[in-house]
């Protein structure tokens, strides 16, 4: 028997596509990964008062700008999903690439920010605060890069009129990446 559609889109579990359910499970596991890292950071932060002095050297403008960029890219991907539900290939493709543009802008700002910090001697090995800073922001950055790669792949399928349902899945993932940053921003940049 030949399969013309991936199995994840042709069967359902718990009343939804298998692919979508799997994506929710990925997000669930990511909650524990990022949550564990952030809770560890919070506990150390509470018991190391002098971390506030270290946090004073993070760049709030870059952090705020990146929050704006990610929130905007979240808007674009939800509009892409809406266009995908209408099977509008060009509109979906355009919104996906606007989202990718947002992700690339985020990475560019992050690269600039890290370059300045490293040039001033705030490296990963300087202190435990900076170690947490680079680990948390770096892990988040890797998720951004992974999301962008998958998004680009999906965009070309959509352009061919295939797998519109995947736009929703990558959208859910992207919103989660946005939520992680929403918590990283006050923890690493605002709380001085």
């Amino acid at each position: 028997m030949g399969l013309t559609q991936p199995i994840a889109t042709t069967r359902s579990a718990a009343g939804m596509d298998t692919g979508k359910l799997a994506l929710w499970w990925i997000i669930g596991s990511e909650i524990v990964i990022f949550g564990g890292l952030l809770m560890c950071y919070i506990m150390h932060r509470i018991f190391h008062g002098h971390w506030a002095a270290e946090a004073a050297h993070t760049n709030v403008v870059c952090g705020a700008l990146n929050t704006f960029v990610l929130l905007t890219s979240s808007l674009f991907i939800v509009l892409a999903h809406q266009a995908a539900e209408q099977k509008n290939r060009i509109k979906t493709f355009t919104y996906i690439w606007l989202t990718i543009g947002g992700g690339l802008t985020f990475l560019a700002i992050k690269s600039y920010e890290w370059t300045i910090e490293i040039m001033h001697g705030y490296t990963m090995g300087k202190s435990l605060f900076w170690s947490f800073y680079y680990t948390a922001a770096g892990l988040h950055g890797l998720h951004v890069i992974g999301g962008l790669a998958v998004m680009a792949w999906i965009s070309f399928d959509v352009l061919k009129g295939k797998y519109f349902n995947r736009v929703e899945l990558i959208g859910l993932y992207w919103h989660f990446v946005d939520i992680v940053w929403i918590f990283l921003f006050p923890l690493l940049y605002i709380a001085k």
């Binding site: 718990a14 009343g15 939804m16 929710w24 499970w25 997000i27 669930g28 596991s29 909650i31 524990v32 949550g35 564990g36 809770m39 560890c40 506990m43 150390h44 018991f47 190391h48 002098h50 971390w51 709030v60 705020a64 929050t67 704006f68 929130l71 905007t72 979240s74 808007l75 939800v78 509009l79 999903h81 809406q82 539900e85 209408q86 090995g125 300087k126 202190s127 435990l128 605060f129 170690s131 929703e168 959208g171 859910l172 919103h175 989660f176 946005d178 939520i179 929403i182 918590f183 921003f185 006050p186 605002i190 709380a191 001085k192």
Partner: protein, 116 residues
């Protein structure tokens, strides 16, 4: 989930609300008042996360089991945190041994964040 019942303007309004909350979360801590910082920076982060989850991820209209699964993961996380918190919160006690002796650091102040 279904986003077709909403117009793009609906999502743009939610995005605008998120930006307003972002501005408040930046301005609030500038006052230097601890509780204001806690509410504006961290309280608003939870509100923003809720808005993104409920309206952009459509959790409000998603099957209940997904919300329960995600809350279950948060509960699991809190169990892990509770288990390790006891260790992180302590720097002395019957089971503690200070491996790196540094006379300049008070015994009850664990400045263990210098490079190792």
């Amino acid at each position: 989930m279904s986003s077709e019942s909403h117009s793009p303007i609906y999502y743009v309004k939610i995005w605008a609300l998120l930006l307003v909350l972002l501005i408040i979360s930046i301005i609030g801590p500038e006052f230097g008042i601890r509780w204001v910082t806690m509410v504006t920076a961290f309280g608003i982060a939870f509100v923003k996360a809720y808005i993104v989850g409920a309206y952009f991820m459509h959790l409000k209209s998603e099957k209940r089991i997904i919300t329960y699964m995600l809350l279950g993961m948060v509960a699991l996380l809190l169990v892990f945190v509770a288990g390790t918190m006891v260790d992180i919160m302590s720097s002395k006690g019957s089971g503690w041994e200070r491996l790196r002796l540094d006379k300049t650091i008070p015994a009850d102040d664990h400045h263990d964040d210098e490079p190792h």
